[in-house]
């Protein structure tokens, strides 16, 4: 086992964690403002696709990143319109965006590159060390940034107030809807970063459904982390580590535990935590509730 837990495993863990962490921080912002964001999965996929498409159009991966993030933010804005202005069911709207994202990216891949499975290779973002994208440290840097913004700034505290008790926040003159729009769109930016990381940070191309449930995992990690940035980071590290160990176990072979069970472990842990066995996980009290004014 000595050569199993290597520096490579640690790096793989950070690489697998980064996209989850971006999305989890996005989900955190949205949920703390009071809007459930099941659409993270689809928004990541949109970010991943448009980052590659943008890089392919402009020839510059940084512009590609910008286009990917903007596309995901636009998708998030649709979610916001439906959830906040139309007062649609937040879960229904989120699932719809996931379906649209999966379909539209597959459709556009076919239109642009005339093949079914994915895009051509494009130039990727630079690495900081071998095999590790520059976006990996950014994901971890965003943890204290999000924490400071939410818990130490005036808009952040207003967001929290609107998420806990929208009516009370409205009554003291906070425009809850405006802050919710801001947070949902920011969650799209974060999910877009996570998706772009997958396509032009870690790899250099887009494949169909390349997020493969990471948006949902991020949501679970955010909950496992008790709706706090630090907790979300620790929880995403757990999911990331289990994926890294699984990859390593598959590469090495004859690992004592089945890789399927290894990967299943964080899901099981989240389930157990949700059932209240590990510690209390309390969502923002105003989650899913509409503010009084449109």
């Amino acid at each position: 086992m000595g050569d199993f837990f290597t520096i490579e495993l640690l790096k793989a863990t950070l690489r697998m964690t980064a996209p989850l962490l971006f999305a989890a921080l996005g989900g955190l912002l949205s949920e703390r403002s009071g809007i459930m964001n099941i659409a993270l999965e689809g928004l990541m996929l949109i970010g991943a696709f448009f980052a590659v498409a943008g890089t392919s159009w402009t020839g510059n991966p940084w512009l590609g990143l910008l286009i990917g993030v903007l596309a995901a933010a636009a998708g998030a804005a649709i979610h916001a319109v439906w959830c906040i202005t139309f007062r649609a069911d937040q879960i229904v709207a989120g699932m719809a965006i996931n379906l649209v994202a999966a379909g539209i990216t597959a459709f556009l891949v076919q239109r642009i590159w005339h093949k079914a499975g994915g895009s051509d290779s494009v130039q990727k973002l630079p690495n900081i060390t071998s095999g590790m994208s520059i976006l990996v440290p950014l994901a971890f840097l965003l943890v204290p940034v999000v924490w400071y913004f939410l818990f130490r700034t005036r808009p952040g505290l207003r967001i929290l107030a609107g998420g806990e008790h929208p009516q009370a926040a409205e009554s003291v003159g906070i425009n809850v809807s405006r802050y919710r729009y801001l947070c949902v769109i920011l969650s799209g930016v974060m999910a877009g970063l996570g998706g772009a990381y997958l396509s032009i940070g870690d790899l250099s191309y887009f494949t169909l459904d390349m997020t493969s449930g990471r948006g949902f995992i991020a949501l679970a990690a955010m909950i496992l982390g008790g709706w706090t940035p630090l907790g979300a980071m620790l929880a995403t590290l757990l999911f990331g580590a289990s994926q890294a160990v699984q990859l390593q176990a598959q590469a090495i072979g004859n690992f004592p535990i089945s890789p399927d069970l290894l990967v299943a472990f964080p899901y099981l842990l989240t389930l157990v935590a949700l059932a209240g066995f590990v510690r209390h996980v309390t969502p923002p009290a105003g989650l899913g509730k509409h503010a009084t004014s449109g």
Binding site: I38, V92, L99, I104, F107, Q110, L274, A275
Partner: protein, 380 residues
């Protein structure tokens, strides 16, 4: 206004709303296809042609409808109780796995024993997988959306794990990432010569009528609907909320398990490990069917047609078949967006004629307020 006529109006408004949602989605899809530089009219014509033109096309539409109707029913019974079951995909897979394992055993039993046995195994497995998030919500308030997502992934992993178990008594085939072939005595028989149409569609339609009876003609159904409309009113009426949502999720899982069994015993002949995504389309089916079992039969056939016509659309009009997935998403968005109209003052006046209308989740996305809810204590 007499109660019956207001219910009729509600049903008509719901049907018109679903049709309008489909039209809006098709128009939005047409815009998208045009932007991509293709011909929407041609695409839709090929889609329609591929789904209803001829015996084979219609049979294929019904083949695709089978898991979608059962999945839609699964979604509906949970939502009637106020539970958002997005774990249908996992319950479907676990049900299919159980059906595949039981169906692949060489038991030497006749069809009329082995097939029901395999179906029961699927219902039991799916039911357990569905009841877990219900019970979790009842006991600790764990949000069902997250627990069902986790159970989806656990279902995928469990299936992948089980089919790798070589050298055991389990009838699995690791080389195929699947269970062994279901024996003929456990197959849902083909019901139309020269097509893949199997008896699963009959199971689905029977299930729809059973669920309709259960929801609208039994005490259990009354409790489920009451709990879904208002937890507070249900508590006021002495209904056990936790038990009711758990049972509704059990029923939901049973139906999803049946959907999985239909695929395994009827279509594929074995359970594979790759998720098919029917559990998510089922949400669209349930919503367009307005959570009404009879409406869901029609919605299921509609989405089945979308799936079965997609290859023709790709072959004849060159529009890639994934656009149908976009259309499904658009339909859901349209239905969800129309809830704003439902809540608007005009619709409220027409629909409720002076009664106060509850605005919780079940009502907001289009279930009719046909349970008389008296003023009770505030929601717990």
């Amino acid at each position: 206004m007499p109660r019956i006529s207001s219910m009729v109006i509600v049903n008509i408004v719901n049907i018109l709303g679903s049709i309008a949602a489909i039209i809006v989605a098709l128009l939005a899809g047409a815009v998208l296809i045009s932007i991509a530089g293709q011909q929407p009219v041609e695409a839709y014509r090929a889609l329609l042609d591929g789904s209803i033109n001829g015996k084979r096309a219609i049979a294929e539409t019904l083949v695709y409808s089978c898991p979608l109707i059962l999945g839609g029913l699964s979604f509906a019974v949970a939502l009637r109780a106020g539970m958002f079951n997005i774990g249908i995909e996992g319950q479907l897979m676990i049900g299919g796995l159980a059906a595949g394992l039981v169906g692949a055993l060489h038991l030497g039993l006749p069809l009329y024993i082995h097939l029901p046995l395999a179906l029961l195994a699927a219902m039991a497995a799916g039911g357990i997988w569905g009841a877990i998030p219900g019970a979790m919500k009842a006991f600790s308030g764990a949000h069902e959306v997250i627990s069902t997502i986790m159970l989806n992934y656990l279902a995928y992993r469990l299936t992948a794990y089980v089919v790798q178990k070589t050298g055991k008594w389990l009838p699995v085939q690791p080389s195929l990432q699947a269970t062994k072939k279901v024996v003929p005595e456990a197959r849902l028989p083909r019901i139309l010569d020269g097509t893949r149409l199997h008896a699963g569609i009959i199971v689905a339609i029977i299930a729809a009528f059973v669920l309709w009876y259960l929801l609208f003609r039994t005490t259990f159904g009354y409790k489920v609907r009451t709990v879904g409309l208002s937890r507070g009113a249900a508590a006021y009426g002495g209904i056990n909320w936790g038990l009711t949502i758990t049972l509704a999720m059990l029923a939901s899982g049973i139906l999803a398990g049946l959907a999985g069994a239909g695929e395994t015993l009827g279509l594929q002949g074995r359970q594979y490990t790759a998720p098919q995504g029917y559990g998510f389309t089922a949400i669209a089916v349930g919503l367009v069917g307005r959570n009404n079992p009879i409406g869901i039969i029609f919605a299921g056939i509609l989405f089945g047609a979308l799936n079965s016509g997609a290859p023709s659309m790709q072959a004849d009009a060159g529009v890639s078949k994934e656009i149908t997935q976009v259309l499904q998403g658009f339909v859901i968005l349209a239905v969800a967006g129309f809830a704003v109209l439902n809540n608007s003052s005009l619709a409220r006046k027409v629909l409720t004629s002076g009664q106060s209308r509850r605005r919780d989740r079940a009502a907001a996305i289009g279930t009719e307020p046909d349970v008389e809810v008296r003023a009770g204590p505030p929601a717990l």
